[in-house]
C-alpha cells in the first residue's frame, strides 16, 4: 500500500492560502457582518433584521428587480449581437481585420470614460443623439432623465461597451467549427439561413454558454457604468443592487450594505448555477 505523504499539499498551499485570505475569510466575515449593525469600532448582532429591512424598503427591492432586468437585457443583447457580428466578421468581408478591431475597441476603454461620454451624448437637449434625431424631425427622449428609460439607456451603453468581447468569444467559437459541417449542409441543400440556424447556432453553443454566463454575472455585478451615468436616478429608477449597496455604505449602514452584498452573492448563485447546469447539458463536443 502506498504511504500518504504531505508532499503534494505543498503545491496546493500557495493557491489555498491566497484563496482563503482573499475569498473565504472575507466571505465568511461578510456573512457575519450582514447579521450585525456595525461601524468601524463596534458591532451589534441583530439576526436577519438587515435582510428583512432590505426586502421591506421599496427603493431597495427596486434595485434587486432592476439588477435582474439589467443583467437579462444586456446578456441577451450581447449574446444575439455578438453572434451576428462574429458571423459577419468571419465571412471574409472587406476590411474584416479593421472592423474586428473597431468592434473590440470599446472593451478597452475605461468604463467611467464611456459613461461620461455617453452621458453627454444622451443629454436631452444638447446631446449628439437627440440633435441627430431632431435632424430627421424626431423629438428624442430624455435618455437618462426619463425614469422609464434610464435603466435601458445604460443597458444599451453596456451592450455597446461589452459586445466586442462577446464577438471575440464567438469568433473563436466559429473558428472551431469544421468547414465540412457547412459543406455537408450545402450538399444536403441547406440555404445560408438554414446553415446559420441548423449548423452555426447549435455548434457554437460552447461559446454561447461562455458569453451568457460572463455577461449575466457581469451585468448583475455592474456598478461603475450606472454610477457614472445616472447614480441610480432619476429617483431610484435605475438603481441596481451594486449602487444600492454603495449608497447604503455611504450613508453609514454598513450592516445593511453587507446584507445587500450577501443577497447579490446568493442571487448570482441562484440564477447562474441552474443556468450552467442547463447550458452544459445542451453543449456539444465538436
Amino acid at each position: 500500500m502506498r504511504r500518504k505523504t504531505p508532499y503534494p499539499y505543498w503545491f496546493v498551499a500557495p493557491a489555498a492560502i491566497i484563496f482563503t485570505v482573499l475569498f473565504t475569510i472575507p466571505t465568511v466575515t461578510s456573512l457575519y457582518f450582514a447579521l450585525t449593525r456595525w461601524d468601524l469600532f463596534s458591532q451589534t448582532f441583530i439576526g436577519f433584521d438587515n435582510f428583512v429591512q432590505f426586502f421591506r424598503e421599496p427603493g431597495l427591492t427596486r434595485g434587486l428587480i432592476n439588477t435582474v432586468i439589467f443583467a437579462g437585457l444586456t446578456s441577451g443583447l450581447k449574446t444575439v449581437l455578438g453572434l451576428l457580428l462574429a458571423v459577419l466578421l468571419t465571412a471574409g468581408i472587406f476590411a474584416q481585420g479593421f472592423l474586428r478591431a473597431v468592434v473590440f475597441f470599446p472593451v478597452l476603454v475605461s468604463t467611467i470614460g464611456v459613461g461620461l461620454t455617453f452621458t453627454e451624448l444622451m443629454h436631452p437637449t444638447d446631446g449628439a443623439i437627440n440633435m441627430g434625431l431632431s435632424f430627421f424631425g424626431i423629438d428624442g427622449p430624455g435618455w437618462l432623465t426619463n425614469p422609464d428609460l434610464a435603466l435601458i439607456s445604460v443597458a444599451l451603453v453596456d451592450v455597446w461597451r461589452g459586445v466586442g468581447l462577446a464577438t471575440l468569444i464567438y469568433i473563436a467559437g466559429l473558428a472551431s467549427i469544421s468547414p465540412e459541417y457547412y459543406e455537408a449542409a450545402r450538399m444536403d441543400g441547406a440555404t445560408r439561413l438554414q446553415q446559420y440556424w441548423r449548423v452555426t447556432v447549435p455548434l457554437v453553443r460552447p461559446a454561447t454558454t461562455t458569453v451568457i454566463l460572463l455577461s449575466l454575472i457581469g451585468g448583475m455585478r455592474l456598478f461603475d457604468l450606472i454610477w457614472a451615468m445616472t447614480r441610480g436616478g432619476p429617483g431610484f429608477s435605475s438603481d441596481v443592487l451594486a449602487s444600492v449597496i454603495y449608497k447604503q455604505y455611504q450613508a453609514g449602514f454598513y450592516g445593511l450594505s453587507t446584507a445587500g452584498n450577501v443577497i447579490l452573492f446568493i442571487l448570482i448563485g441562484v440564477l447562474v448555477m441552474p443556468l450552467v447546469y442547463w447550458l452544459n447539458r445542451r453543449e456539444v463536443d465538436l
Binding site: S178, E180, Y181, E183, A184, A185, R186, M187, D188, G189, A190, Q194, R198, V199, P202, L203, R205, V284, D285, L286
Partner: protein, 327 residues
C-alpha cells in the same frame, strides 16, 4: 442512369493551376476510384464534381446535363466526407434525415426513409444515439446513410476510410463494395491508398500533379502500367524501378520488376545480400542489396528461412519485366 463526364476541367487557385485539363467519363453504375499521392488534385477534382469547388474552366455533365454552374444539391449527388461531418448535436436518426428535413419533407416520410436506410446499414438500434456514442465504423455507416437517404444519382467519397484502423478499414471496404453492388449507383471514391483502389474499383484513375496519369481497371493498371509512376504506385510492395546504367543495359529509360515477379533461385543471374527480412505470415518481404542494381525488394513465400546478411541469387520472371521510355 448517371453517367459523369468531365471535359477539359481546369482549376486554378490564383495564378497556380492545380488541375490541368482533365477529360474523363465515368459510366453509369461504375465504382471509380481517384488515386494518387497527396497534392495530386484528386480531392479538388472530387469537390469540383460535387459543386463545392468551382472549376476555372471546362464542362461537367451528369447524364448529359451540364451541371457545372449548379449548386451541389441541384446536381443530385451526395458526398461522404473524410471526417464524416456528422452533426454532434443531432441523433443518428436526425443526422440521416437531415437533408430531408431541410427540404421540409413530411415527418412520416422522413421517418420511413430513415428507417429504410437504417435497416440497409444495420443502424436501427443506434438511431437515438449521438455521434460521439458511436464507434468509428458506426459513424462511417451513418455518414453513408446520410448520403443514400436522398437516393442520389452519384455518390462521392472523400477518403472515407482514412480515419479507421486497419482491421475496420478492411471490413468497411467489403461493406462499401457490397453497398455498391446493392445500390448499383455510380460512385466516385478518392483515396491515396492503392489497396483500397485495387480492391474496390471498377475503374481506377491515377492522378499526378493535377493530370491523369492512366485510367483503367485495377488489373490493367497492375499488368500494363503506362508510366513508371503508375507502375510504382499500383502494387504493394511497390515495383522495383531502375534507371541509369541498369535501364540502359535493358534497352530502356526505366526498367521495372515487381517484388512478386522475382524468383530466388540458385542459378539466378542477379546476386546480392539480404539486408532486412519482413515476415508477414503468408509472404516474406526481402530487402536486398544487389550487385549492379542496388536496393531491391523481393517477395517470397512466408515459410522462407532467409536471414539478414545471407547471400542470395535471383532472377526475374521474363514475361513480367517492364521497360519504360522516358518517364
Amino acid at each position: 442512369m448517371a453517367r459523369v463526364e468531365l471535359h477539359d476541367i481546369r482549376k486554378s487557385f490564383g495564378k497556380v493551376e492545380v488541375i490541368h485539363g482533365i477529360d474523363l467519363t465515368i459510366e453509369d453504375g461504375e465504382f471509380c476510384v481517384f488515386v494518387g499521392p497527396s497534392g495530386c488534385g484528386k480531392s479538388t477534382l472530387l469537390r469540383i464534381i460535387s459543386g463545392l469547388e468551382e472549376q476555372t474552366s471546362g464542362r461537367i455533365e451528369i447524364d448529359g446535363r451540364d451541371v457545372g454552374n449548379l449548386e451541389p444539391v441541384e446536381r443530385d449527388i451526395a458526398m461522404v466526407f473524410q471526417s464524416y461531418a456528422l452533426y454532434p448535436h443531432l441523433t443518428v436518426g436526425e443526422n440521416i434525415g437531415f437533408g430531408l428535413s431541410l427540404a421540409r419533407k413530411p415527418k412520416a416520410e422522413i421517418a420511413e426513409a430513415v428507417n429504410r436506410v437504417a435497416e440497409t446499414l444495420q443502424l436501427g438500434h443506434l438511431l437515438d444515439r449521438r455521434p460521439k456514442e458511436l464507434s468509428g465504423g458506426q459513424r462511417q455507416r451513418v455518414a453513408i446513410g446520410r448520403a443514400i437517404v436522398r437516393d442520389p444519382k452519384v455518390f462521392l467519397f472523400d477518403e472515407p476510410l482514412s480515419n479507421l484502423d486497419a482491421a475496420l478499414r478492411s471490413q468497411m471496404r467489403i461493406e462499401l463494395t457490397d453497398l455498391h453492388a446493392q445500390l448499383g449507383s455510380t460512385m466516385i471514391y478518392v483515396t491515396h491508398d492503392q489497396v483500397e483502389a485495387m480492391t474496390m474499383a471498377d475503374k481506377i484513375v491515377v492522378l499526378k500533379d493535377g493530370a491523369i496519369e492512366q485510367v483503367g481497371t485495377p488489373m490493367e493498371l497492375y499488368d500494363k502500367p503506362a508510366t513508371p509512376f503508375v507502375a510504382g504506385f499500383i502494387g504493394s510492395p511497390k515495383m522495383n524501378l531502375f534507371d541509369g546504367d541498369v535501364a540502359a543495359q535493358k534497352g530502356c529509360e526505366v526498367y521495372g520488376i515487381r517484388p512478386e515477379h522475382i524468383r530466388l533461385t540458385d542459378d539466378g543471374d542477379w546476386h546480392g545480400r539480404v539486408r532486412l527480412v519482413e515476415r508477414l505470415g503468408a509472404d516474406t518481404i526481402v530487402h536486398a542489396e544487389m550487385e549492379t542494381f542496388g536496393p531491391m525488394i523481393i517477395r517470397t513465400d512466408g515459410q522462407s528461412e532467409l536471414r539478414e546478411g545471407r547471400e542470395i541469387r535471383a532472377a526475374p520472371m521474363p514475361e513480367r519485366e517492364f521497360r519504360f521510355g522516358k518517364s
